[in-house]
Amino acid sequence: MTFTASQLLALLPLLLTTGAMVALMLAIAWKRCDDTAFVVTIAGLNLALFSLPIVMAQGDQGVTPLLQIDGYAVFYMGLVLIGALATCTFGRSWLKGYPDNREEFYLLLLIATAGGLVLAGSRHLASLYIGIEMLTLPMFGLVGYAYRERHSLEASIKYMVLSAAATAFLLFGMALLYAQAGSLSFSDLGLTLATTPAHHPLLMGGLGLMLVGFAFKLSLAPFHLWTPDVYEGAPAPVATFLATVSKIAVFCVLLRFYLAVPAAADPMIHWLLAAMAVVSIVIGNLLALLQTNIKRMMGYSSISHFGYLLAVIVASRLGQMPVEAAGVYLLMYLFTSLGAFGVISMMSSPYRGKDADSLHSYRGLFWRRPYLTAVLTVMMLSLAGIPMTLGFIGKFYLIGVTVDAKLWWLSGAIVLGSALGLYYYLRVMVTLYLREPGMQLRDAKGDWAITSGGLVVLLSAALVVALGLYPQPVISLVQGFQNVVLH
């Protein structure tokens, strides 16, 4: 197989990230230094991010049967890289107090990011599987990075066992599909299953088993049970990564798969997806109401957000708009989660045992750290979908798409979920502004705003507000990238 120059250029983000990975490994072998590790990682990820315009200029490139680097892939690669970069900056502040080897944090992060990049461009079940595993395996190490904490270790083991089980489902589902179609590429699968009659129960079984795997990674009900524990146990920067990059990449490939394989739109799968969306929205929001730990609450809230997004998948065959809606919503979700988890990271940095994640630590925060609190407030408002934030534009798109598709049950579920969601996001906000401070176990450092993580947090808040007021750039951006995906 030969690569043309433009195919190689299309692979630039992946090559640069893996390059940084190798460089970092060599650097660690030569001399341990967490500053070097940070610089190498940041440089590699930034180069990858800035190579995206070059990739875009190459147009739609199929690179080996495994990868399709089109506008859709470039868009999601951008989201993955931004999420990874932010995680690095949060991680750096957090690692300042970490007593053991710090360099491997960056290494694991780079591997996982490379997995995310593969998923963004995946058009083949093999690359899908490789991508998901590359994304997931380093997460075991990252989630358990604070292994001296019982919670962290427990989360890591829980995530590993359940994830392995989910992967097994995914693999078996793929095998069943392969048995039907004799091919692993999305387009061949779509074509074969559409033209030749397949054994229906086996086909549904295959798709259903794959769905279990996806649902686990996206923490959709009823496969969501790991989420709160892992979110709580994982160090705050890792939870950031888990909530953003790992979910966005998996969602991206799920949407591409769903669109490419018409058999996936079978009424049974359609209803299954719709039911999972409704259940995720309801369970996620209801259980979030009961949480007193902000990381657990964010875990449940992410269950409901991906429930909303699943509604987009259900509607996705009805034209360009749902794909656009998914792009806008995920962009919103990325920046909002980065901001929210960023604040939690700031509060928990440097490492000093358990994170500052109980709502207690945030009581009356406004009167001590007004700007940090303003950021968290903006993020809560955005997650709740209040106007003047990017979150509203996302919700606007979701409701618009479901109403347009006449999926009344799903619009109803989104409305109900948003109403429930308001309640717990408001609760966090009230806590922040309480007059009487709680026990000040943890606090952000005084100079949080001039650390790199602080800048990321402030920047995301500024973006969430500015783009909420004038969303046209986001919408144009998403439209520009996503017109490429559907043929």
Binding site: A325, P387, G400, V415, A419, Y423, Y433
Partner: protein, 517 residues
């Protein structure tokens, strides 16, 4: 002095200047609180001056608009959203009421906000921005944005600066209003998808093409969101909590302006977009309004807390506004327009007065007072005037509004209209009962002998600052009572046009509009 840019972007300036001013004030350190208060009041007064001069001086165009701004803003889900602001006959006085009440309230509650006053005043200015934005927005999505955005500052004002149950009250306030508007958002997006636009005029055309049942459902989605804000019985339960827990300034603005946005939403959007459905639901709406009038008055009578009494009287008074709107007659709707302003002035003034006595006595229980008239004669005089205006005594503003509304209900086309007018008139009687009974127990009689009572803590009558706050309100009470046409003239053409649209297709008895002079 006023540049051409200002003239072209007057409304943008009015909407965003308070917000920007508020953000700037937030940057001041806490120990500068008196300076911040002064700057906030000066800023709000400046906005008032500019708004009053520019809006009242401008010549209206064919559609009665005195100021317009219109740009393409963005396109989402394939539907263009416009940045479309305008002030016309329907909202001009509500805009002026808003910019008038804000500086007055700030001055009136100078000492009430002890804790982090700078931040509270900054939020207050942001609230002003949100309310003005919602009042002047002509694009439905823009209206929705401002409608929700104005809740946030109010949420914080109640939740941080409120009374002992503030968290509960603030959360309830937010949940009620936001859940209602979520359902509305679905209807809004459905209509926008049908019309391909968020402009009410285009939507009205698209709505006319829909089957009647769909129109009714959509109208209900709009109506519930607005009715929660009004609040119309039985969706009113958040109001007493919010009012009781809110700081004085919050209560004044909540009663004075925020509630009006609900009834304004009916007049501006719900009825013009779905005229047939509005006629269809006019009778149930009127019935609920009458229930609100009587129920609010009866519950008010039973209150032991002055502020809660005023809060329930709000439910009753806003019932009058909704009754006027539901009558779908020119005279009733005009009465509703006037009653909105009346309620803003009278109830706002009542809340200010309650705040003034609370600052001195630190209690609001009626039983803790008695004989206040001997200790605070000036305060008593003001309270009495406002009470009479709230009751609707002739020559005060309350009379003109309630008279027009009852008249409109009597003339309305639907059956039982006359009976409803009669029952609603009972509400006027009841309002006299609860207000005067409260006045009797608080102000008259011998001074409360208990040394721990509220009356014992009243050491000083109103000072000059407080008198300066009350005087313009009292002046307005009489002006609106004696010469209401100042305030009615602007909206008449607009209301008449809207009603002709609403009633033209319906072959009902009330098709011929009664003249109002």
């Amino acid at each position: 002095m006023i540049t051409p840019w200002m003239n072209a972007h007057l409304l943008t300036f009015l909407v965003f200047a308070p917000f920007i001013w508020g953000v700037l004030l937030m940057l001041f350190p806490e120990r500068q609180a008196p300076l911040v208060k002064l700057l906030a009041i000066l800023g709000a007064t400046g906005i008032l001056a500019i708004a009053a001069v520019q809006l009242l001086r401008a010549q209206p165009d064919v559609l009665g608009r005195v100021a317009v701004e219109r740009f393409h803003w963005f396109s989402a889900v394939g539907i263009p959203v416009e940045y479309h602001l305008s002030v016309d006959g329907l909202n001009i006085w509500l805009v002026i009421l808003t910019v008038f009440l804000v500086p007055l309230t700030m001055l009136g509650t100078w000492h009430s906000l002890s804790h982090k006053a700078g931040t509270a005043l900054a939020l207050f200015l942001m609230l002003e921005s949100g309310m003005l934005g919602a009042l002047v927005a002509q694009d439905l999505l823009l209206f929705y944005l401002f409608w929700e955005a104005m809740l946030l500052p109010m949420y914080f004002l109640i939740g941080v600066w409120g009374g002992s149950e503030r968290r509960y009250a603030a959360t309830k306030f937010m949940l009620f209003t936001l859940s209602g508007s979520l359902l509305w958002l679905v209807a809004l997006l459905y209509m926008a998808g049908k019309a391909g636009s968020f402009s009410p005029a285009v939507m009205a055309q698209a709505a006319a093409a829909l089957p009647g049942s769909a129109q009714n459902l959509l109208f209900l989605a709009f109506a519930v969101a607005f009715a929660i804000k009004v609040p119309l019985f039985p969706l009113h339960t958040w109001l007493p909590d919010a009012h009781t827990e809110a700081p004085t300034a919050g209560s004044v603005i909540l009663a004075g302006v925020l509630l009006k946005l609900g009834s304004y939403g009916f007049l501006r959007f719900a009825i013009p977009i779905f005229p047939d459905a509005a006629l269809h639901f006019a009778k149930p709406m009127a019935a609920l309004s009458v229930i609100a009038i009587v129920y609010g008055a009866l519950v008010a009578m039973m209150q032991t807390d002055i502020k809660k009494l005023v809060a329930y009287s709000s439910v009753s008074h806003m019932g009058f506004v909704m009754l006027g709107i539901a009558s779908m007659t020119l005279i009733g709707t005009q009465g509703a327009m006037l009653q909105m302003l009346n309620h803003g002035i009278s109830t706002g003034a009542l809340f200010l007065l309650v705040g003034m006595i609370y600052d001195r006595a630190h209690t609001r229980r009626i039983a803790d007072f008695g004989g206040v008239a001997t200790k605070m004669p000036v305060f008593t005089a003001f309270f009495l005037i406002v009470t009479l205006s709230s009751i609707g005594l002739p020559l005060t503003n309350g009379f003109a509004g309630e008279f027009l509304i009852l008249n409109g209900t009597y003339l309305s086309g639907f059956g039982w209209g006359r009976a409803m007018a009669c029952v609603a008139t009972l509400g006027v009687l009841l309002s006299a009962a609860y207000m005067l009974w409260m006045v009797k127990r608080v102000f008259w009689g011998p001074a409360n002998p208990d040394p721990e009572s509220g009356t014992a803590h009243l050491h000083a009558d109103l000072n000059l600052r407080e008198i300066a706050v009350m005087l313009p309100l009292v002046a307005l009470i009489f002006w609106m009572g004696i010469h209401p046409s100042t305030f009615l003239a602007h909206s008449e053409a607009h209301v008449a046009r809207a009603l002709v649209q609403a009633q033209a297709p319906a072959p009902r008895g009330a098709a011929v509009l009664p003249e109002v002079k």
